[in-house]
Amino acid sequence: MMQFAVNVLGTLVAGLCAVLLLRAFGSVRKRLLLWAGLCFAGLAASNALVVADLFVIPDVDLYRWRLVVAAAAMVLLVYGLIFESDQS
């Protein structure tokens, strides 16, 4: 139960961050917001995959895919932080 709740919360929190950042990117167009927004979208997806893995399709193991999505998301964020965070 706790896993379910925590991962749903994670999906929602990451999703919220993604929406706020991507929406802001829409008007401000600072690329840091794009990479960060995509990262949080990826983290939301990763969390959603955990829920799917454990509760929706328990016979298929999505563990590796969960990690791939989360890792890709974090790489996007770090890329954005390194190359775009000093952009004025």
Binding site: V28, K30, L32, S85
Partner: protein, 130 residues
């Protein structure tokens, strides 16, 4: 050499930190404040401040989002238009301050993280539609 940023009054400092991310933003704002009845086109701002037109657009849009200037007409012209009298007074004080303590103010602007970082923070500010 005393720390020059302490010479700037606290409320001016705060206004700067919340509304001004770059020196072109500051200079554009003050330029428009000094000529409040004039409508400025993107190209005017670009040539007066020695920045590219895309940068000028960026700057004007940022000032508009913060309720400091207003856009009207076709072709699009921007005019100094503070959200309220308090803001107008702050800009006036900032203008005075900038005349006297130019290096302190530019130093303050450059010492803060970039506009991108500030926009990241603003993205989470739901109170105002910035």
């Amino acid at each position: 050499m005393t720390s020059s940023t302490t010479e700037i009054p606290v409320h001016v400092r705060r206004f700067l930190e919340e509304n001004i991310d770059t020196v072109p933003q500051l200079e554009t704002l003050l330029m428009m404040y000094e000529d409040p009845d004039r409508g400025w086109e993107n190209s005017d701002v670009a040539s007066r401040n020695y920045i590219t037109e895309p940068r000028a657009t960026d700057t004007l849009n940022a000032l508009q989002r913060r309720g400091l200037v207003i856009a009207e007409g076709t072709p699009l012209r921007f005019r100094f238009n503070p959200a309220n009298e308090e803001v107008r007074a702050l800009v006036a004080e900032l203008a005075l301050c900038y005349q006297r303590k130019l290096s302190a103010i530019t130093q303050l602007i450059h010492s803060k993280p970039s506009a991108s970082v500030k926009e990241f923070a603003r993205a989470f500010d739901l109170k105002k539609d910035r």
